[in-house]
């Protein structure tokens, strides 16, 4: 089973996307041999009221919940975030909490952010942080969004030892992050920005060495990014079948407790 920890639906304001809705994403997954995917909303990066984007996402996956697992994007400094939290993890059946402090203008050190992360951790909901969406070197000239600072990520990890953090689209900066932490057992990393043969120090092999094979996840960034890249990467790794299966999807399924999950079959509305 290939289970992608890092997929999107919705629009991106600065270039057109294909496959960015429910049917299209499944078509792309079929093309690439990807069985399941964790999906967040791109619209949630830009809407002032992010809950509208969560509602759109929930509708888009109706009838597709066997393959698409949704993330709730919440803005902890926006009014009524607690209500949004209850709805997303209640009737909407979302499985992970995605925070985008760099797009929504707050720090992970903010008490309101820590509070919502703590609530998620207590419910066993993993926390997803999308460290970057678009490479900062090529962002729109009028809208430059920095990566989430590693110091903030490290601080949140230290303050929430019971939480499980999934770091999406993180690159070589993870070396700095790990250097700031004594305990790293609750970190899971999307391998989409690591290479296999590269001349740069940061590689999938390095991730496995530092975090362990149980903490590295198959991720693509599709349809913003080309999913074939991660399929080739998984194939290129010099791993046992058991290790490949873990990275390819078992680690993520376990993290989301999906082996025992009774998927929502009904319209979440």
């Amino acid at each position: 089973m290939i289970f992608d920890c890092h997929a999107y639906m919705g629009q991106y304001p600065f270039r057109p996307l294909r496959y960015n809705h429910g049917a299209g994403l499944l078509e792309l997954m079929d093309r690439e041999g990807i069985d399941r995917a964790v999906v967040g909303s791109l619209n949630a990066l830009f809407y002032r009221d992010v809950q509208a984007a969560n509602e759109e996402l929930a509708i888009e996956v109706v009838g597709r919940q066997d393959r698409l697992v949704t993330l709730a994007t919440l803005n902890p400094v926006y009014p009524c975030c607690d209500d949004d939290f209850d709805r997303c993890f209640g009737p909407l059946g979302m499985r992970g909490l995605l925070l985008c402090p760099n797009y929504h203008g707050y720090s992970l050190d903010d008490d309101r952010a820590l509070s919502i992360m703590e609530q998620a951790a207590e419910r066993g909901v993993p926390l997803f942080l999308r460290v970057q969406v678009e490479d900062p070197r090529k962002q729109h000239r009028l809208i430059q969004v920095p990566r989430i600072p590693v110091e903030q990520i490290a601080s949140a990890i230290r303050k929430l030892p019971k939480a499980r953090f999934v770091l999406l689209d993180i690159g070589g900066e993870i070396a700095q992050l790990l250097g700031l932490l004594d305990q790293i057992e609750n970190i899971y990393v999307d391998f989409c920005r690591a290479e296999v043969f590269s001349y740069w120090d940061y590689s999938v092999g390095w991730l496995i060495e530092k975090l362990g094979v149980d903490h590295v996840l198959f991720g693509t960034g599709m349809p913003f990014d080309e999913p074939r890249i991660s399929r080739i990467k998984l194939d290129a790794l010099d791993l046992s079948g058991n290790e490949r299966a873990k990275i390819g999807g078992e680690n993520l399924a376990k993290l989301l407790n999906l082996n025992s999950l009774k998927l929502h079959k009904d319209n979440p509305r």
Partner: protein
């Protein structure tokens, strides 16, 4: 078979020798695994963001001699490209000529010692044209792409118009620049090819290149992002004919290679 237009090989000496050996070995594993021939160059020192690269004549000559030896170790995998610093115009021209005529090098790589619109590049570009080898130029467009000595897309266009008989390759369309801008800016300049390399994984780049400039002017490249490069090539929604042109046929034509084995360019 694939031909990768953009591969750094590092000199295996000095303080970073072990890192360089491992890095080079990684590129050779990639070459063997996916049956890739590597258009390789040694750019004198490890690349680090913000580090100025101003190699002396002795340094770039040493780099090229190392690469010649490395090619002799892997003759079927390494297609060597000379690397020089155009700040030394006469010596750079002489070194390019030596590399091509005496060592059998197949191309010229320029990085960021001098912006390529600088008049000092003219004799070098002319020599590349006379020798019949392509000039692979590090370049890009974007607010954070252009640092000291780096060339913009427009710098390369200026050079390509000034010395039109030479064939150029615009390096790393997926290298972090504004690829939409780069592709459209280069569309009309038929003596400039585009290499696909770089770490940016966005969907649609290869398709836009084919749509705007045509598959006949695109060459496969990785620049160390090997899986990203393979994914952009094999995942792209283009025809198999176009994919083959990008994968190896265009570069073979530029290097005057017979894909059954023999190099014709320069040696």
């Amino acid at each position: 078979m694939l031909i990768d237009a953009h591969v750094h090989i590092w000199e295996e000496d000095g303080a970073e020798a072990e890192w360089a050996r491992q890095s080079n070995a990684g590129q050779m594993r990639y070459a063997e695994r996916y049956d890739v021939s590597l258009c390789a160059f040694v750019t004198g020192g490890r690349l680090q963001p913000g580090v100025e690269e101003l190699p002396t004549v002795e340094e770039f000559t040493k780099s090229n001699r190392f690469l010649a030896g490395y090619r002799d170790r892997f003759p079927n995998r390494i297609f060597p490209f000379a690397y020089v610093n155009p700040a030394y115009p006469e010596e750079a021209v002489r070194e390019l000529e030596r590399c091509v005529k005496q060592e059998g090098f197949l191309g010229l790589k320029l990085l960021r010692s001098v912006r390529c619109s600088d008049p000092r590049l003219v004799p070098l570009a002319q020599m590349a044209g006379e020798l019949g080898v392509p000039l692979l130029q590090h370049a890009g467009t974007g607010p954070d792409v252009i640092r000291f000595g780096e060339s913009t897309t427009e710098d390369l266009i200026e050079l390509a118009q000034r010395v039109p008989e030479t064939t150029y390759i615009f390096a790393h369309v997926s290298g972090g620049g504004e690829w939409e801008w780069e592709i459209k800016a280069l569309k009309r300049y038929t003596n400039i090819y585009l290499d696909t390399s770089g770490s940016v994984r966005e969907m649609g780049v290869t398709e836009m290149m084919v749509r705007e400039v045509g598959a006949q002017r695109i060459v496969f490249g990785s620049d160390g992002s090997n899986c990203a490069a393979l994914g952009r090539l094999f995942g792209a929604g283009i025809s198999e004919k176009e994919r083959m042109m990008i994968a190896s046929e265009n570069m073979a034509r530029l290097l005057r290679l017979d894909l059954t084995g023999e190099a014709g360019g320069g040696s």
